[in-house]
Symmetry: C2
Subunit: 493 residues, 2 copies
């Protein structure tokens, strides 16, 4: 489905990141923009959706192993429900898509297309929870949500409709809810690092940027090669605000009625944006073998007189790999030459290419080429089903190391306003600075260079804090008042 003229990325990742990203998404067959009149929406094509499916599988298994059950709540939320938790309505009202008519009739009450589902899940939890024995209660749904943001569309990173999972839990105590919040953050970190090959840093959002109604919003942040941060996923300790708004209470062991503490946590297809942006290059998509729809492509290279033996060898190899559980594609197309195929599979992000010519057949070998860097390795045909896993690990390690290097080299310290501005202006990345906790100090930076506080390290996470904050008695880098903690400033997606 890729025309010859569509092959090849023309934009540069380094110099023209936005256009390059859009080109990779389109030419690797991941997504198209939505129809006219629906800017902000995308169509997720099979190759894009396959990535999401695999991520779903990874997360879903982790959730189920840790007591979460899936459920499904209505797509719409009555306006009056949305209004019951005041922070939610203030936070989301400007972004809600409203259904006003059902068939030819105007509805008595407008219905919000869910921007997030706390306001419809909490009231049901309150029906299901009676006693402490019903706690913790954990449900998750895989669903799409709509947030009518005015900003420019960037497939996966920023779309009016997006796919995500939203987990919602109720607990007897605040401590229980806190453990849950952190467990889910751990799982998100795990999926970013072990599946997507993207190291993340963890912390919490500043108070003024918490999820509406939350006590604490925790986050994993990933640094892109262009120096901007991506909010990878968030996990919220909601305290009792939703439980109070929706009468979510339980009888404790003494039959005393108590208010639950709740959490919610979400991971969206923005993770695919981070994946594409982190590893891909000017030849197109780059994927770690953990998530690639095809982990290996076998490309036979023949002349007329060697065709039969080469093809047979290649087919046999592909079958062996497949029976080993490897996701393998044999590209035996007659109408394309090997060079075309190499380019096409590079564009599509297949991590390993196996080139099979007459020499490989004669020597009982395989020429394996790593997508990320073109490194070529000779493998023994007879050992391939063992060696393949080492090859996958090597490719994964290369991708992770490059992302890790980008991250570790781009966390800098600053102690003054101009140093923050200058450092981000020059290098991008994260700048950690002592901070008083006042939103005004973020605004001042934001107004100058569109950087914001993307993360505040957890208390006790000493190595992430600015040294002066750990020593105590230091000043906010922006306003000079007493600093309360460390802020990570960065531009962000």
């Amino acid at each position: 489905m890729t025309d010859a003229q569509e092959l090849g990325i023309t934009e540069s990742k380094e110099y023209n990141t936005g256009e390059w990203y859009a080109e990779v998404v389109k030419k690797a067959g991941l997504a198209n923009y939505g129809p006219e009149g629906m800017s902000g929406f995308i169509v997720t094509r099979p190759r894009g959706y396959a990535l999401w499916e695999r991520l779903q599988g990874e997360l879903d298994a982790r959730f189920k192993d840790t007591g979460v059950q899936n459920a499904y709540f209505p797509l719409f939320i009555p306006e009056s429900y949305l209004e019951r938790e005041k922070d939610i309505v203030e936070g989301f009202d400007p972004e809600v898509a409203w259904v006003t008519h059902g068939g030819h009739e105007e509805l008595e009450e407008r219905l919000a297309v869910r921007p997030t589902s706390e306001s419809i899940i909490a009231p049901y939890m309150s029906q299901w929870v009676r006693s402490h024995r019903d706690l913790p209660l954990r449900v998750n749904q895989w669903a799409s949500v709509v947030r009518w943001e005015a900003t420019e569309t960037k497939p996966f990173f920023r779309t009016k409709e997006f796919l995500w999972q939203e987990g919602h839990t109720a607990h007897a105590t605040s401590e229980g809810a806190w453990e849950e919040t952190m467990l889910r953050l751990d799982q998100y970190e795990d999926v970013y690092e072990d599946v997507l090959a993207i190291p993340v840093i963890r912390g919490q959002k500043p108070d003024h940027d918490k999820f509406p109604g939350a006590d604490t919003t925790t986050t994993v942040e990933a640094l892109m090669p262009d120096g901007k941060s991506v909010q990878g996923a968030t996990s919220h300790h909601l305290g009792t605000s939703f439980a109070e708004a929706f009468d979510l209470t339980y009888a404790d062991t003494d039959e005393e009625e108590r208010v639950c503490n709740t959490t919610s946590w979400g991971f969206s297809w923005r993770s695919l944006g981070a994946l594409i942006m982190t590893h891909s290059d000017d030849q197109g998509l780059v994927l770690p073998p953990t998530i690639a729809p095809e982990q290996v492509v076998v490309v036979p290279i023949w002349q007329e007189d060697t065709k039969d033996e080469v093809l047979e060898y290649a087919e046999d190899l592909a079958e062996d790999l497949e029976s080993e559980g490897v996701r393998v594609e044999l590209d035996a197309r007659d109408e394309r030459n090997p060079g075309f195929k190499f380019n096409e599979w590079e564009l599509r992000g297949v991590p390993l290419r196996f080139e099979i010519g007459p020499n490989e057949v004669d020597d009982g070998e395989i020429t394996a080429v790593h997508r990320p860097d073109g490194e070529s390795v000779t493998l023994d045909r007879d050992d391939v089903t063992d060696e393949i896993h080492d090859q996958f690990d090597e490719v994964f390690a290369k991708l992770y190391a490059a992302a890790e290097e980008n991250l570790s080299e781009n966390v800098r310290e600053a102690e003054g306003r101009n140093e923050i501005l200058g450092t981000i202006g020059q290098h991008g990345g994260y700048v950690k600075a002592p901070w008083c906790g006042d939103e005004d100090c973020e605004t001042e930076i934001k107004d100058q260079i569109a950087a914001e506080i993307v993360m505040v390290p957890f208390e006790g996470d000493d190595e992430k804090h600015h040294p002066a904050v750990l020593e105590g008695d230091c000043d906010c880098a922006v306003c000079g008042e007493a600093a309360e903690t460390t802020a990570y400033f960065a531009k962000s997606y």
Copy 2:
């Protein structure tokens, strides 16, 4: 999460089917009704959703084995897109939920919440298909759709929002599209019969009841114990109507531009309604082991002096089963007695109950009780991981046989209008009768007893036709004009 007073079904399946069904859905923890102001919506609880997840897995694997890739298209469809295929807009316009506002702004063009997605998928297919090499193109999405029907809500059977999959394919020829249509119908039949233990009959919808825009709508129909038919799933040959409306063409091998033929096919959570209705009884939910979230519940029965040995034996058994891949629940709750547990797990539809008391421990045995009929079997503890699969097969066979008996006993023949009315009035079920093909003849029956033509057998499917139709030269049972085919009249869900 089930209070003592909530246990126990009070309504009768035979005498009060509707109320009984609602009670089973609620008390087995499958679903709740939506919030006030949102009649027609349901909340699918974890036990209900687990059934849907398993069905998804079964169907999805069949689709992927036969060339289908998943994708995701926008939730909304611009009104102008919906209007491009005239049958679709006429068919669905009265049932569309309309989004008119995004945030605080009124939209320039109203957006339909998808009632089905042909109108947004076909235009993208037309971008992706260039040549005959791109065909067949097959995509599927798992999604929710909204149809604003005014009828009474019946969880899973009839809800304004429902979960389904919708497959969409494009083909070079009408024959290709017809093969696809039938392949998907085969897979639906397969899932009904082999997973849900529900025999179905297949055929096509009468022309006046086809999917809007379709050439042919095929259907699998399941007969419920109360004598009503459920449209189990449908698969449509769409001919060229959508391809023409959305310029979906391809260059054939001679570089000639040709219009594609398309299909679409959908399977919704209505299947869960059929599942619940078919097998369950006055003790609650009954599930085949193929789909039950817990296939076996182990209930230890102890006195104080036997508790340790009984519990150890039961735990060991549960572990063995689990490592064999059996979905097993050990109910070792202290605060409930065995009788309570029996009732609760019966209500919840667990197909096999293993009772473990001191006698079983002494004899190295297991008392296994089949949920559908209470039959009790003694199993050898040491052979249980082998025998369990036979037990599952036995339970499945019992359920299938009962449903099969209901179906085979309730297909009757009629040759006159009064015979149709009388037979359905007395017995329910299907009445097959010669039919002229005119909708008026259906209307006449519908007006009298709310039965309709749910299915017309395929040409060549002789055993399903009325004998007089096969002989030729017979009259329509309703109007007396020349009959063209056989119609299956039935009341339906």
